[in-house]
Amino acid sequence: MGYCERKVLLQHLHGPKVAASRAAAQQRGIIAHQRFLMESLRRTPQADSDGDCGIARLRLTFVASRPQPLFERLLRYIVRWRR
């Protein structure tokens, strides 16, 4: 197999276990997929899709089009300053 067979069995016996670092990576993956989907639908709106998670979409409508993380930092600074 392409991965550890022992892990496959242990996962089956002991249930799924996710380390904090892996959970964070999964979260990043979900966001990246959401962004990927939005790009797809922006380019080809007629593409057949299951759609996406509404909450992630709300978050992404804001995040997806940012060109740089610097932009996000600036926004955070503005929001904090406004408070």
Binding site: M1, G2, Y3, C4, E5, R6, K7, V8, L9, L10, Q11, H12, L13, H14, K17, V18, A19, S21, R22, A25, R28, G29, A32, H33, F36, L37, E39, S40, L41, R42, R43, T44, A47, D48, S49, D50, G51, D52, A64, S65, R66, P67, P69, F71, L75, I78, R82
Partner: protein
């Protein structure tokens, strides 16, 4: 007075952000598009789930599928630091190929693409992957079932570097004893 200025400033910032956002949409798309996408054909599926019960029970979600008229080309997105394909990527894409072929009845190319996205810079690279045949996938599914039924002894990983990040190190050591890296 001060509140009024702040409100006007906030409105100006909002308008500026909207303009940047509208402009960066197409710019971002152009920057992110990969060379193979230009000749892969028309995008037909995006984040679409397919399931089959024959020849094996399988559910797979396709990130993107392009149709060039002759067959579908599958694209899988992965977020990772290393620009390296793993065998699990190829198995995943091959499983998608099997499911899409049986669920839609359409031909799927033997070559797929794995798009590796850097987590922080979000720079993407497309990697071509030769997919496994249907027979290979059925063999894998049977082997997995035998492993879960404990009719087969599970093989250790090819590289023990992956043990360092494994969540099951303790269980592995207590079940299989040796060969787990601490």
């Amino acid at each position: 007075m001060r509140r009024n200025i702040l409100q006007r400033l906030a409105a100006a910032i909002r308008s500026l952000l909207r303009r940047i956002s509208n402009r960066s949409g197409s710019w971002h798309d152009a920057w992110q598009s990969l060379p193979f996408e230009r000749c892969a054909g028309e995008l037909v599926f995006a984040e679409k789930t397919f399931s089959i019960t024959r020849p094996i029970h399988l559910v797979a979600r396709v990130d993107r599928a392009y149709d060039d008229g002759a067959a579908l080309t599958l694209v899988e997105l992965k977020t990772r630091h290393r620009k390296q394909l793993f065998a699990s990527d190829i198995i995943e894409l091959s499983a998608q190929r099997l499911v899409v072929h049986h669920a839609t009845g359409r031909r799927v190319h033997d070559l797929g693409y794995v798009v590796l996205s850097q987590p922080h810079s979000r720079r993407r690279n497309g990697h071509k992957a030769a997919l496994l045949t249907e027979l290979d996938m059925i063999e894998l599914a049977i082997r997995r079932q035998l492993l879960l039924n404990q009719a087969l002894a599970p093989a250790p990983p090819n590289s023990f570097a992956i043990c360092r990040q494994c969540e099951y190190r303790e269980e592995c050591r207590s079940t299989f004893g040796t060969r787990s890296v601490t």
